[in-house]
Symmetry: D2
């Protein structure tokens, strides 16, 4: 059994990691940290977590180092920088769920996160943990930068088309709709039930921190630096992100040709499903699972261009965070890619 | 007191008209129809409706003709065609909440609604009932085609910019998010609580019937025939439509210039509010009211063009249907435009 | 126009008072206070509030005293004690929405609220502001203790039966289900969307502070000191309280006899509706309104006793708080009891 | 691998059985039926179900008989009578999720379900499939009557106390709050999103069909025929039942004594957890799992009696239906009781 530690286990990505890893056939949680909750039983904090005697401990790297071989970091960005460096340099495997090692350019990181990056050389070692794109790099990685929730849905939706001659890369608009759990577990007025329920709003237009992450990956795929328009929305449900993505096509192609490109691109990806023609992804069908559903549509009603409309659905806490982290662990350690992740979404 | 009748009072637009008109200072409901519910007391069918002895009656035009001077039609499209014609030709005022008289072109109507239009000449007499655009025509109209819910939010968002030299009119993308009440009151699996709750989905991509309605009005404003990309979504809340609208700008303009254009455009519109810079519309702040909140944002991150992002929020059953119908009635009859419509949205 | 001030206008009872009073035909808001929000425009804090230039000011009694004739106190309990005393002693009318003047016994108050009562003599002057019970006292009152949300639904459900020889007064169980807005507007983990959504829980069993308030009023009505069993629950909706109340009957009576007692009891109460036989109250039909719906049922399946089951539905922020406060104002000042409160609940 | 068939796979209990059994280590689904959906792929009907080629077939017993060794019946009551008899008499194991074999008395069944029971002798062979009570009978059973959702939560809450000398058995009141999925998957107005959302209501007071089922089991445990008061409520969430149960105590006992009785009673039940003193069950912590959380409270405020208040939480579709059915299968076939059921509830 692989010994794993979860650093920062008081939030939703931490609690979902706890849940997933407690029933993982090849991993065993040996430590979970929280400064605020140190001394508390995990199952007293999260009533859904049962059958474990795990107790929160403070994050003391020197105590933790011997306890585990793989460290999941569910720490705030900036805090994660140093922890990742410490465990990486101690020869441990690290999967960082924060944003600290996602952006290859320290300058871009420092601009968007408004804090210095103190481990610039380590940025080069980090592998962006999107298995459908970087599976072979992940196999050999020691430091995984686990993708953001919005980027996961957006990049998976665009990857099959972005590097082709079809996509007009300066035309990409990503309109994403997220459940409230994406805002985390710290109490704040906008995410109170009475404020968030029965409402939808856009936020962070042209300024969301996931923007440069999406742009970095799409630029790599298209081999040209590009910018996107990204509008996140918050809506009254616990989980799920639906991304509706608009791309103009510079060359004509039939919908079935494009659907085949998508099916082919993901033919060996166990967690991505390209839906049948005309079927719309629904977040409820991926909720509680590590799956990503994708469907593509073609709007040919404009006189001077066709537009591809791609819709993707993920669970923001699973494929968009903790599930993907476990998927990365599986690939890093040669486990079955779906180990511990086979749960289907309940209905309803 | 103006005597009004509601034809088709068993659905949500009918029940909201009932609610609004029961407390209107200058109107009195004299009849409400429903074939299925004929003989039932309105307040037994809708427990929220109180203090009235109104009883449903079947829709017999010859009986109804003497009972009222204004007829609100909440009938299915196609059924509404004939009813509107009958009451119009009898010299009555008609506000039709169906789609039957919204499209000026019978051919476009017949294509999208897949049914013949039997009263083509009457199409010319109908006024599209969006008061912020057609107030003076509404004052003199006898037949109002009350706008669809999505078109109301979309057109109000684009009206101030569409006729200027700023908007690239072939670039318009409208991504709308609607509460479930937009689907009406007929039981159907996708709108069951257990299916629609905790989920979001897109639907009718490139094929929603509100598309030609939006295109007609924007084409008139821009004086060029245009097509839009329109993607509706259904999300788990009772009411509200948030529309996120993307338009490329062909000429550069500052955000504050554009905001001023919007404020100026709506300066005498009592139900439209252009929010302060940086404030996002939220559907919860318009729910239960006839207001439309609008905010504009500018994304200048693309190398070759700027994009205006307009966000509008309305209550789909009020400004998007029954509230707007009452607003039209007020204008047609010289009442205060806000009469019976002054309610603010509750919080929360 | 009656000049009114709202002290403590940053929470939901305050914002609902703002909304109701802004459209009240005989009242005018002349001041609204909040220490934290002092200087902010009300309509910037609550996006639903429009058409007013009101600005929050700090609570300085000496400044406020000249501005208004009636003071609504939406302050935390304990803070309200002194404010009520000050304005009352200055000859002003006071409607206190806190718990500070609801309990006639200072000892009971001090036990349940764990704080001293510093104005014991004023307790005697306060009138419990439940108009269906104390209308004539309210007409002449200067200090109204506006009832709690749970007590309103519970007492209205029991008032017609409690003083009769039918009810076994030691058998009363009140099982109440409340929307989340009852928890107020201060951020706290249990009321975050991601925690409260898709869940229901009981809380404060045998220890909720509304217990002695219900007991006081029922004891007065039954002329015997009694204790109740009261279990509040929190459930995932914005507003509404459904109370399911169980009372054993010591003497037999038919359901229709009891229904008639209820109808007779409330025959002149404009906001209470006793539903037809077999019809269940639903909170959605009172949401956004000042109404209370009541229905009674009789379970005769036990061998040795019959049980009356009473179900009541109110909107916790309106009939359970701010709406009732306006109703009290109307009665105190000889306005129409329903002035400013005639809105029906929307559907859906 | 045990070959199992699901008869009636178009509803929620059927789809949850599909989901659970597809990943069960010792069972293999060999057939699933639906008249209406015959010929459709399961994964086209339920988008959450993936990775299976299962296709619905019509319910033809003679075709099915060879395909499986265990038959799960998710058929409507009445229809299930005959199917259970057929497969039972063919020597197969049957787990019937309908109500047809739950009531030992055909007369009681016929009264409450208003239909004749045509297989009265088979009633005697059926075992009530509540493993925490009837584990040893289930081990040897060939026909399991899988309990109703409300009875599961109610009986588990009362079992430890009902047979003692503490409970006054004529005083039991069960006030249950259920998510909407309990109403099934057939479209009907009251369960439409726009009707059920943002609302709570009681229904079927003194007349719900789960009443005699609860009474039968409690009577057996207490060895006296008893009647209960049972009030179900429907509330706006997908899943979960919280039952708040009131029982007068005829003898005094401390809370900790009673808590110990509960812990002892369930000490070998893998799916029942008695919570720590003062901790309230929340349905969200059992949603998506087969667990039942229980907590007990003591109200000693009445002068003449103490009341035990028991709160239980289950997922109505899992421990209340399909999960329990799988648990029964496990016990019948000597599998690990938790096989295929170990999933914890996600958070949030």
């Amino acid at each position: 059994m692989l010994k794993v530690a979860i650093l920062g286990g008081s939030g939703y990505t931490g609690s979902e990691l706890l849940r997933l890893l407690l029933s993982h056939p090849q991993a065993k949680i040996t430590a979970v940290t929280s400064e605020r909750l140190a001394g508390s039983h995990v199952s007293d904090v999260f009533l859904n977590i049962r059958g474990t005697g795990l107790v929160y401990e403070p994050l003391k790297p020197e105590n933790l180092i011997k306890k585990a071989d793989l460290f999941f970091l569910c720490l705030p960005h900036k805090t994660s920088q140093e922890a990742a460096s410490f465990f990486y340099n101690s020869g441990k495997k690290v999967i960082d769920l924060s944003a600290d090692y996602r952006l290859k350019s320290a300058a871009v990181y420092e601009k968007w996160y408004e804090t210095p990056h103190k481990f610039k050389s380590l940025l080069k070692k980090a592998v962006y943990g999107l298995p459908e794109i970087y599976r072979s790099e992940i196999e050999n990685a020691s430091l995984i930068a686990n993708p953001g929730c919005y980027p996961t849905g957006a990049i998976l939706g665009l990857a099959p088309i972005i590097g082709t001659n079809l996509a007009e890369i300066d035309s990409i608009i990503i309109d994403s709709k997220s459940g409230v759990s994406g805002a985390g577990r710290n109490p704040a007025l906008p995410f109170m039930f009475s404020e968030a329920n029965e409402s939808v709003k856009a936020y962070a237009i042209a300024s969301h921190r996931h923007t440069p992450e999406i742009e970095q990956e799409l630029s790599l795929m298209s081999k040209k630096k590009l910018n996107i328009i990204f509008t996140p929305h918050i809506m009254p449900m616990d989980r799920g992100i639906l991304s509706t993505i608009y791309v103009r096509l510079g060359n004509s192609a039939s919908l079935s040709t494009i659907q085949n490109m998508y099916r082919n691109f993901y033919k060996s990806a166990p967690f991505v499903r390209v839906l049948k023609n005309g079927i719309y992804p629904i977040t409820k069908a991926v909720k509680g699972s590590n799956y990503c559903d994708i469907s593509v549509f073609l709007d040919k009603r404009q006189s001077n261009h066709n537009t591809l409309i791609i819709v993707t659905a993920i669970d923001n806490l699973l494929k968009g965070a903790s599930g993907q982290a476990v998927q990365n662990m599986n690939i890093m350690h040669g486990f079955e890619e779906t180990a511990g992740l086979a749960s289907l979404s309940p209905s309803p």
